[in-house]
Amino acid sequence: MKAKIPLRQRQWYKLDNAAKVFPGQNTSSWSNVYRMSVTLTEKIDPDLLQKALEMTMPRFPMFDVRMRNGFFWHYLEKNPYGMPPVMPDIANPCQRFKWKENNGYLFKVYYYENRISVDFFHAITDGYGASRFFMTLTAVYLRLTGKEIPVGDAVLDINEKPHEGESEDAYLKNVKSKAKAQRVYKFTYHYKGKRLPKHYLNITTGYIPVAAIKEKAREYGVTITEYVAAVLVWIMYNLQKQDKWNKEKPVGVQIPVNVRNFCESETLRNFMLCYSFQIDPKMGEYTFPEIVKQLSLYLRYINNEKELQAMMNGNAGIEKNPVMRVLPSFLKDFGISVVYKITGEKATSSLITNVGIIKTPKEMEQYIEKLCLSTGPGMLIPKCAALSYKDTLALSVSNIFEEPTVQREFFTTLVKFGIPVKVESNRHFIAGGDT
């Protein structure tokens, strides 16, 4: 479809501080795409879903954009083309986005049986913003099927005008610190296995009763995120021990945090920062309780507004650096892709992102069977994503290896710790692919 909106009327946005690196990292092996899926009680009607999407889009102008190449930076521009099409689901989600496909939109809506899934490119939003968009879309769809769904919690009012604060670059607005966080991490252990062919991704999701995992976390006096992160470190630590070529490298986990918990902002764009935690097996044998304790104490020590401000200031400093600013965008992309290939995932063995509890109006809960979040492929590391809905924690492990060793270790460890897990995976559905 040809452009209908004149150039002058097309609103444009600078990429936020975190999003600036994503266009340079948009490759098949590192797509920076994540997926949210909701399974409803009824089969999805694609026509109604398309209509729901068209009704939802005006409330979220930050999603109604396409990626453009500026001379110095990439930027987001209001999409002059039609609506993004809803598509039948695929077995290998979270694939890289090409700027010209999907009518230029940076998210894709899929449907399959009772399930609606949306793949988001990280440059437009983080897990918080995505959950607001996704739950609003689901609520609008349910309303179109004749259900009474009120507005509230993660469901935004589509009749309301978009708030100005929802499209702000919260990093630049909130950065006040003069200090820059200096963080040096060692290169860590990475699980090695036979890689899946390009564009394939192994996603295994475990559904866990929140009460069961909360009780276990309470035994150690930690939060659910800390507990799950500790399990990840524990299994990677044990996998390294079993490795024939064990070099006793440090084992680490990266934990993105929602900065909205510290700096007030209603932005629906990216507003998160990452902490890294490492243990060094050269220091001696670790037990699981030791890892939980160290991780929890480390996060409690470091996770505060001042530290986050210093991290934000450090990141903003790179963006404001005069040398960085004058480099053409293609050189920046090349530099980012090279730097991230060399160092990006070297300093962590895995990643766990927890979006937290997604709340929806009570009337909506009865129509939703399950909700889950899964991340895209990591070049070296398995990535874990979590969210809680109603009384269930959905934990997804995504990786690019044929053998489900990491997933198996992760979920069976939880079972051994007395936490019941129900699993589902796309593994057997992508196994028949062209290998």
């Binding site: 039948p88 689901d89 399959y112 295994t204 198996r408 979920f411 079972v415 129900k422 589902e424």
Partner: protein, 232 residues
């Protein structure tokens, strides 16, 4: 509902095997149940990517055009005949780096053979158009064959993951062997006798390093001692 007897996790209804360990699910009670819709569709989205053949074509064009210009200039203006050596060099580079892109799956041994033949053909061109006093058959041919054979041995040996120290030992051994071949060929060509001197010096260096790396690989005690003594 079914549970995996191996992993202990609960499985989705109708799941034929555990996705974590592939243990088949045999639940007599679920047999009578209606077959569930699979969790994921069979559709796979594989984006179209620019093929290696396309890049091979583009790179070939980039190489061919200046070479054709050079050939024309040499024939019409310079008339020196130097272009055949430059074009030959580019042809060897094409066979080494672009030719493998035309194949879906590369077999290293075959590719190495083709590379060695291309190099021999290029050097043979110097013999044909230059001075012929036996240098090709006395030096070039045995050295290239020795290098090709050593590379093949390495390909065969590196099929399994090897320890870095042992790889260093193998590389040093190969360097030592190659030095013997080169020195013998050179001496036979220039002096007509089997005289080996320099290679023994190379051997002394290589063997001492090989012993060091072997002990490093085999003895943890020595490794710890070396780390303590030579830390920087």
């Amino acid at each position: 509902m079914s549970y995996c007897v191996n992993c202990g996790v609960e499985l989705e209804k109708g799941c034929p095997a555990c996705p974590l360990c592939d243990t088949p699910v045999i639940n007599p009670r679920e047999k009578t149940a209606e077959p569930e819709k699979p969790l994921f569709p069979e559709i796979l989205e594989i984006p179209k990517s620019v093929s290696k053949k396309y890049w091979a074509f583009v790179l070939s064009l980039i190489i061919i055009i200046p070479n054709l210009v050079l050939l024309a200039l040499d024939i019409l203006i310079f008339k020196s005949g130097i272009s055949k050596y430059i074009i030959g060099g580019f042809a060897v580079a094409w066979i080494w780096f672009i030719f493998p892109m035309l194949w879906k799956k590369n077999i290293p041994v075959v590719m190495l053979g083709i590379d060695a033949l291309a190099l021999l053909a290029y050097l043979n061109m110097f013999r044909l158009y230059g001075v012929e006093n036996g240098w090709f058959s006395s030096i070039v041919l045995p050295v290239v064959i020795a290098l090709w054979a050593l590379c093949n041995l390495f390909i065969f040996w590196l099929r399994k993951p090897r320890d870095k120290s042992m790889t260093a030992v193998a590389v040093l051994g190969a360097i030592n062997l190659l030095s013997f071949v080169i020195e013998i060929c050179m001496n036979m060509y220039y002096y007509g006798k089997l005289q080996v001197v320099v290679s023994f010096i190379v051997t002394a260096c290589c063997v001492s390093l090989m012993i060091f790396f072997t002990v490093m690989a085999k003895s943890r005690r020595f490794k710890d001692w070396a780390k303590r003594k030579f830390f920087m």
